[in-house]
């Protein structure tokens, strides 16, 4: 058998892998529903803040563990959980608040949709 067969096998493995991949992010991009949900807990929250919170969550938290889905915890439990991990992940207090706001909003929207 030739090297071409080996290469073919490799390509089949690669194609099967890519085919197994999903296309939708379970870490939702914030929209109006998230702003409304966040405003019940943090009045005056803007969509820009929530977008920044999502970016920070993805950038900072994945350095220690695979990202948890917002539905992983009840909305009220996220601030304490993020606060507990803040020092280890070297996140500033301001960034911690933005991450918490995003996770609370996403968890509230997720809970409302269940």
């Amino acid at each position: 058998m030739s090297a071409r067969v080996a290469l073919g096998g490799a390509i089949v493995i690669a194609a099967a892998s890519v085919a197994a991949v999903g296309c939708v992010s379970p870490i939702p991009n914030p929209g109006a529903a998230h702003v409304n949900a966040a405003s019940t807990v943090y009045p005056g929250t803007t969509v820009e803040e929530l977008r920044e919170g999502r970016s920070l969550y993805v950038a900072k938290c994945a350095g220690c563990h695979q990202l948890y889905l917002p539905s992983h915890l009840a909305p009220a439990r996220w601030p304490a959980s993020v606060s507990e991990m803040r020092e280890r992940a070297a996140i500033s207090e301001a960034h911690e608040k933005m991450i918490s706001k995003y996770l609370v909003a996403a968890a509230l929207v997720g809970a409302a949709g269940d």
Binding site: M1, S2, A3, V5, A6, L7, G9, A10, I13, A14, A16, S17, V18, A20, V21, G22, C23, V24, S25, P26, I27, V58, A59, K60, A62, G63, C64, H65, Q66, L67, L69, M85, R88, A89, A90
Partner: protein, 282 residues
């Protein structure tokens, strides 16, 4: 640098590997770690900036033509540089026990050799996330140098966490120059595909399968072979440390014309490989 250390039971090597791993575990600080679910297939995740991790690797390679037992040890020190870039430094050693024919003839003698396999550097960049994005994507570069060979590895990393399932795929290109023992310098090209599929059976335990295919071309000689390994992979992680292990028998090998008959390639590869990785936050 090669040193014959005489007869020694492979079991002693096993015990030493687990004992050193256990001792290292006891030193781990209680913090988070970036766990790996597979032993050959890398995740795209990188350490947070400022975080450091110690990773002892132990790979057992068993069974070639005649008795063969090789235990490779790598000690990796890994550090996060930015939110998406990490680096690492490795010390590599190997202990091989095999039957060899004495120079003066006569029955084969079992010998154990300790081999210093040099040092490696690693740079890994995460360009998208396995959970937040459609697919995690990363790039990995690893140069190595030893008294007998130099090597440059480039990997394209893909992974995805979807619910309780996790998948990772690496496309690996490798260029090797062997100059230590051969009369002539030998250049090799290796194309490797590593694939892992796992399910979370608990939030901190995965069970899955890992598949590895390595195809080797020797410059000026041509195709050397393409060998497939597959077997179970298990991982466990807790705050501050993680463990990942695999057991991968050789399934079959595609060999060039004129090569020894048989489904397996036991001239260049082992019948069974098994790897144990431990990661500890510092």
């Amino acid at each position: 640098m090669r040193e014959v250390v005489g007869m020694r039971s492979p079991r002693l090597g096993l015990v030493a590997a687990f004992a050193s791993s256990a001792a290292a575990l006891s030193l781990a600080a209680p913090a988070a770690a970036s766990e790996r679910q597979f032993t050959y297939t890398h995740n795209t995740a990188t350490l947070a900036p400022g975080q450091t991790e110690l990773e002892p690797w132990t790979t057992f390679r068993v069974g070639r033509e005649g008795f063969y037992f090789r235990m490779q040890n790598r000690l990796e020190l890994e550090a996060g540089f930015t939110d998406w870039l990490q680096g690492a430094f490795y010390l590599n050693t190997s202990t091989i026990t095999k039957d060899v024919e004495p120079e003066g003839g006569g029955p084969k003698v079992r010998e154990t050799e300790f081999e210093w396999e040099g040092v490696s550097l690693e740079l890994k960049a995460k360009l998208s996330d396995a959970v937040a994005d459609a697919v995690g994507f990363g790039l990995y570069l690893e140069p190595s140098i030893s008294p007998t060979e130099g090597e440059l590895e480039l990997k394209v990393l893909l992974d995805k966490r979807a619910g309780d399932f996790y998948f990772a795929y690496n496309l690996v290109g490798e260029y090797e120059v062997k100059y230590g023992e051969a009369e002539e310098v030998e250049h090799e090209l290796v194309l490797e595909n590593d694939l892992g599929l796992a399910g979370y059976i608990r939030h901190d335990v995965t069970l899955g399968v890992e598949i590895r295919n390595a195809t080797v071309w020797v410059v000026d000689e041509g195709f050397e072979g393409s060998t497939f390994f597959a077997g179970p992979a298990v991982s466990f992680h807790q705050k501050g440390f993680w463990v990942s292990a695999s057991f991968m028998p050789q399934l079959f090998s595609i060999k060039p014309e004129g090569a020894a008959e048989g489904v397996l390639d036991l001239e260049h590869n082992e019948r069974i490989t098994s790897r144990l990785l431990i990661g500890m936050d510092l």
